[in-house]
């Protein structure tokens, strides 16, 4: 009944829907600045075809494909975060395709450019790093960072911004990179130490460069092209790749049951063609091409992952591992950091004061207390094995089996973090009393 009415109503407007023709529909998290030049070049290169761009952030895009899979109208999914593609692949929302283009590197950094099962292909690389507002840093006489660990130092307190990994595919990769690079426990320790200095956790990837560009915060943890395109836009910002980073390809994949499969393939081929790769060098895009030959046409100082020393021998990103604990990492970050930021910052702040006082006058007992406090902060409610365990994965995936509910886990973890941070603050206060 309902459907019948809806159809009847819809019929009236059916005439307005445009013809399928040579239209290739792509859902992407890339901004207009990126998609427009590429679209224009593509439409010129393949006459008679139009590229229809639907701009959604990575998460909303995945959600959209899920919600509309029964009657899919999208040909391609095009985004940075490889794990979003892993999620889509896992949900059988992608079709395999092996690009015919030649001259594309097998690996960028130490990361394979293409999905081993052929469900998605890399077309550009991006790395993660730290961006800062030069004016802000100069005005407040703050240091310039080199490594992730730098951001955990006292001078950075309340000056750093990050987007929540649950909201931003790129940040998720950043966190996962640190976890893979330093190991679960040490990695979380680093992440939490940096988090103690956060001013804010944004819910959009772009919220971070936006805040750095406006000078609302000094430093942001971002994907490289946000910094490069901000520089391109004239903002007084700088960027550095820490040594524990990874270059990860930005990807494109054909959506299962694509209405215009041929057009989708044509677009992938174009992206990987010399002309397509060259568009990546434009000032508003600034992605790292995966075709090494393209770097010959790059402006000077353009990072070259195939030659630059600091981009060699980087961490090998394990996308499968990332995928198995994807939800757990996101939820842990939210429950331990995003929604416990106040107690975490309070403890961190006191620890910074203790540190400063200890530098002037050492006190073994205070030092021990501070270490205890740091350990309390670093404590994790679950191990990496647990995070990847089927029980915990099922709690987030809505699987058929009856497991703990997500809300229950979240409450447990949040309570755990709050207790630890409060205890850490108490220890730090105690330490501070000793050194004062």
């Amino acid at each position: 009944m309902l459907r019948a009415i809806v159809v009847a109503l819809g019929l009236v407007f059916a005439a307005t829907a445009s013809a399928q023709g040579g239209k290739v529909t792509v859902v992407t998290s890339f901004s207009k600045d990126v998609t427009d030049p590429i679209r224009k070049a593509f439409e010129k290169a393949v006459p008679g075809t139009t590229l229809e761009v639907q701009n959604r952030n990575t998460n909303a895009g995945v959600k959209f494909l899920e919600e509309t899979k029964g009657n899919n109208q999208v040909d391609l999914f095009w985004a940075s975060a490889p794990d979003a593609f892993e999620v889509l692949k896992g949900k059988k929302l992608l079709d395999a395709y092996k690009p015919k283009a030649t001259g594309i590197a097998e690996k960028v950094g130490s990361y394979p450019v293409n999905d081993k099962d052929g469900f998605y292909s890399g077309f550009a690389a991006s790395g993660y790093g730290i961006m800062w507002n030069d004016r802000y840093v100069k005005a407040k006489k703050l240091p310039t960072p080199k490594e992730w660990q730098d951001l955990a130092q006292a001078p950075y307190y309340d000056h750093v911004s990050i987007s929540a990994p649950s909201r931003s595919g790129t940040t998720h990769l950043t966190i996962e990179t640190i976890l893979q690079g330093e190991g679960w426990d040490k990695g979380w320790r680093t992440v939490k130490e940096i988090a103690g200095n956060l001013h804010q956790v944004t819910d959009r990837s772009f919220g971070v460069p936006e805040a750095v560009n406006s000078g609302q915060v000094g430093y942001g943890i971002v994907i490289d092209f946000f910094a490069f395109s901000s520089q391109g836009g004239g903002f007084p910002v700088k960027f550095v790749y820490p040594s524990v980073t990874t270059l990860v390809p930005a990807n494109i994949g054909i959506v299962a049951n694509a209405p215009n499969r041929a057009g989708a393939e044509a677009f992938i081929e174009f992206l990987l063609s010399p002309a397509g790769q060259e568009t990546l060098l434009e000032a508003t895009i600034r992605r790292l091409p995966v075709r090494p030959a393209t770097y010959d046409k790059a402006p000077p100082d353009y990072p070259n992952p195939f030659k630059d020393k600091n981009l060699q021998g980087l961490l090998t990103f394990n996308a499968e591992l990332s995928e198995t604990r994807n939800a757990a990492v996101d939820v842990l970050f939210d429950q331990l950091i995003t929604f416990q930021l106040e107690p975490l910052k309070a403890a961190t702040r006191t620890l910074h004061e203790v540190e400063a006082a200890l530098a002037k006058k050492d006190n073994a007992q205070a030092r021990a207390l501070a270490k205890e406090a740091r350990d309390l902060i670093a404590a994790m409610p679950i191990t990496d094995a647990q995070a990847a365990s089927p029980e915990i994965r099922a709690a987030f995936s809505g699987g058929k089996e009856k497991t703990a509910r997500q809300a229950e886990l979240e409450q447990q973890w949040a309570a755990f973090a709050k207790d630890k941070y409060t205890a850490a603050k108490a220890k730090a206060d105690e330490a501070l009393k000793l050194v004062r």
Binding site: Q200, E210, K402, A407
Partner: protein, 587 residues
């Protein structure tokens, strides 16, 4: 917005719609004509298909057990057991209540001075006072950060001159600040309408008995205008409680609506809590509306009391006048700050960690001019159609509730009102779920048609038009309709020839409110836009605001949006004025 027009007015109030409140006791009609029944059924069908069903497809998850899908309430228990949600709930209550307080502080002087006194520029003040409602998403917050943020204009200057900063944009206070500015027009509009209807003799009698100044306001004008105030305040409360955008733009996530939004839109998470929170949000909105209707029951003095004093205004002395203008200018400067910031941003080359932009350029306008014509066309089309649908349905519901005794007519009212509380993202996902599987001949899914965007916006803005329609109909005496029937007009002809013409002003006012706010709607739009050629301005703005180079262009587009909406409002207002004048209502 000229004053008499507003008097008849965009009051977006929760009317107490019990039959005893119809203009004449016992004047409610008893007969149900087939036309009325058909109308009621058609509206019910519309609301079920485009509001209840889509929301139900999403919200039922809240009542199912994980894994098995069996019906359960355990999720609500989880809600109550989770510190984060409880904390978010109280944060939302606090922010909503404080927003009402601050919005009142902003709205009271503006409403009182422009309605009860001879105040030059009252119409302009009322119009400017409406503008904050038309704040394009994203850019508004960016502009506010640049002006009032921790390193915004104000704080950079304060820091330089006096070595201190004010944290108005930090945490919950920031949300309150932003929301109070954004939503205060709802209180301004309702309170002004109520104050305007107070007979001057009511105040003069008090002056005559020795009362003046603030006491006069507190003891006479304010209590008499209380129904309008409560209507506006409860609307602000509900809107703030359900608003996602402003808290998130300030990175405040520990509030209920943002929690719902974040959970619903996060991937890889298949969890009912987002929907549980949505159900809680809807429940709170309905309770608030019901509560305000209870409070107002039998208290609509302002429209009842009329007498010899007329509606003439008092005069201000020279000193009072200077003070009044100072207060009004201060309030306007504050509430229009986002627009000023937006304008600056749209001309700025680079604006980073400095009180003012480094330089100015027209390049952003040049950049968006090409793209924006499609956006503008779509926005006008969507917002216009949505507002027209709202006015038609709102007017019809008001008529059915106030003028008939059809069983279940209250349900229509509550349903339409509940739309206020449905988070845009829930409605958007509901539309995708409910309509994407419905394929039209030619293989096009129903949900991809642009008309779905229109319907979603129309549903979201329906409560505004509905309240305006109530206000308009309540001011029309039943006897006018009885006279028409007495002279041989059928019910439907009476509606067409008497009721609708008399309601025109009020309905147009409802149109303006729905239109203006629909034009900057984003949350539902974001889920439903299928391609750029169907996208409205708000979507174009969202896309631009995701890139560093897009900030200025986004601001330019935002300015264009505000200007266009303002022009449309101005034109509608002219039409309202004319229709009122033709009916001799302005004397």
């Amino acid at each position: 917005m000229s004053d008499h027009a507003a008097a008849h007015d965009p009051s977006v109030r929760f009317a107490d719609t019990s039959p005893s409140r119809t203009p004449r006791r016992g004047g409610t009609r008893v007969a149900h004509s087939p036309g009325q029944i058909a109308l009621a059924l058609a509206i019910a069908l519309f609301l079920i298909v485009f509001l209840v069903a889509p929301v139900a497809t999403v919200a039922y998850v809240a009542f199912t057990e994980k894994g098995t899908g069996a019906p359960t309430l355990v999720n609500f228990l989880d809600f109550a057991r989770t510190d984060l949600f409880v904390r978010s709930f109280w944060n939302s209550v606090y922010v909503s209540a404080m927003t009402v307080v601050w919005a009142s502080v902003l709205a009271l002087p503006l409403a009182y001075l422009t309605t009860r006194f001879e105040f030059r520029g009252a119409a302009l003040v009322q119009t400017l006072g409406f503008l904050p409602l038309i704040m394009p998403p994203f850019v508004g917050a960016v502009a506010m950060q640049l002006l009032f943020g921790r390193n915004g204009t104000v704080n950079l200057l304060l820091d330089e001159w006096f070595d201190f900063k004010i944290g108005v944009m930090e945490g919950l206070n920031g949300v309150i600040f932003l929301q109070a500015i954004h939503y205060f027009p709802f209180i301004l509009i309702n309170l002004s309408a109520a104050l305007r209807n107070i007979d001057r003799a009511m105040e003069e009698a008090a002056q005559n008995l020795g009362s003046h100044g603030f006491r006069l306001f507190r003891r006479i004008a304010l209590p008499l205008a209380m129904p309008g105030y409560v209507a506006g305040a409860s609307l602000v409360f509900v809107k703030v409680f359900d608003d996602v955008a402003s808290p998130l733009l300030l990175n405040v996530k520990e509030m209920l609506a943002p929690q719902a939004y974040l959970r619903i839109t996060s991937i890889g998470i298949d969890d009912p809590m987002g929907y549980v929170i949505s159900v809680v949000l809807i429940a709170i909105a309905v309770v608030t509306m019901w509560g305000s209707a209870r409070v107002l029951k039998g208290k609509d003095y302002a429209t009842v009391q009329r007498g010899g004093g007329g509606l003439a205004r008092r005069r201000l002395t020279r000193g009072q006048s200077a003070l009044a203008y100072a207060v009004v200018l201060l309030v306007l400067a504050l509430v229009l700050a986002p627009h000023v910031g937006l304008l600056l941003l749209s001309f700025a080359t680079v604006w980073s960690f400095s009180p003012l932009p480094d330089g100015y350029t027209l390049a952003h306008y040049a950049r968006v001019l090409g793209d924006s014509s499609t956006y503008i066309k779509n926005t006008l089309l969507y917002a216009g159609l949505a507002a027209a649908i709202d006015v038609a349905i709102g007017g019809a519901i008001a008529y059915l509730v106030l003028r008939t005794r059809l069983p279940g007519r209250q349900m229509l009212d509550w349903l339409a009102g509940a739309a206020l509380a449905v988070p845009g993202v829930v409605l958007g996902i509901g539309y995708l779920r409910a309509f994407y599987g419905v394929t039209l001949p030619g293989g096009v899914p129903m949900a991809t048609l642009w008309i779905m965007i229109v319907l979603a916006i129309a549903i979201r803005r329906l409560p505004y038009a509905l309240r305006a329609a109530y206000a308009a109909l309540q001011q029309i005496s039943v006897s006018l309709e009885e006279a028409a029937e007495n002279l041989g007009a059928t019910k439907s002809r009476t509606v067409r020839r008497v009721v609708i013409p008399l309601m025109t002003g009020g309905l147009l006012a409802g149109f303006v409110t729905s239109f203006a706010t629909a034009a900057v709607e984003l949350s539902a739009v974001l889920m439903l836009v299928q391609n750029n050629s169907d996208a409205p301005l708000s979507y174009g703005l969202y896309v631009l605001m995701q890139t560093p180079a897009g900030r200025g262009a986004g601001a330019a587009l935002g300015v264009i949006a505000v200007v266009i909406v303002a022009i449309c409002m101005g034109l509608s207002q002219l039409a309202i004025d004319r229709s009122q004048r033709n009916r001799g209502l302005d004397i």
